[in-house]
């Protein structure tokens, strides 16, 4: 239990984090972020690692824009190579993804050993635009 408190406390201190819920059964931390935040997943991965744990597959809901095959989070200027979910390989060919300027998508990121390394964003679907 102490471990979960340490992770939750660490993540909560990251600027832009609104709330953190840790589930010991699932081994997950659900992080809700404030509007206009500039949080990067690697910030959270680093916090998890600094508490002695290993961050794994990370599901994200993120607003941004597609620029060709790149997805740009314009609040922070982060760019991810966008890759379609293998279960739906034609997903990125749909019109909503082509050069869309404001889109909220669901996807996943898998951190490498070097948590600062850029990883591809596996796109699973949309949440609808603003």
């Amino acid at each position: 239990m102490t471990c979960a408190f340490a992770v939750r406390g660490g993540i909560r201190k990251v600027p832009g984090v609104e709330s953190v819920e840790v589930s010991l059964n699932k081994g997950t931390a659900t992080v809700k972020l404030k509007p206009g935040n500039t949080v990067k997943p690697s910030d959270l991965w680093e916090t998890v690692r600094n508490n002695g744990f290993t961050p794994k597959v990370t599901l994200v809901v993120v607003r941004g824009a597609f620029l060709g095959k790149k997805f740009k989070v314009s609040g922070t200027n982060q760019e991810f190579e966008a890759v379609a979910d293998p279960k739906n390989p034609n997903l990125l060919g749909e019109s909503q993804f082509r050069n869309s300027k404001d889109l909220v998508i669901r996807g996943s990121l898998t951190p490498l050993k070097d948590v600062k390394a850029v990883v591809p964003l596996i796109v699973r679907g949309t949440e609808g635009g603003r």
Partner: protein, 34 residues
């Protein structure tokens, strides 16, 4: 005044106002947590 509104509208269109795009929710899987 009109110029300010026009500048703001252009900035919003181009998406250069911070906070227009961001991570909304992140679900981390964490190995080894108990």
């Amino acid at each position: 005044m009109k110029r300010k509104i026009l500048t703001l509208a252009i900035a919003m269109t181009l998406g250069i106002i911070p906070g227009r795009a961001e991570f909304l929710q992140i679900d981390l899987s964490i190995f080894g947590m108990d």
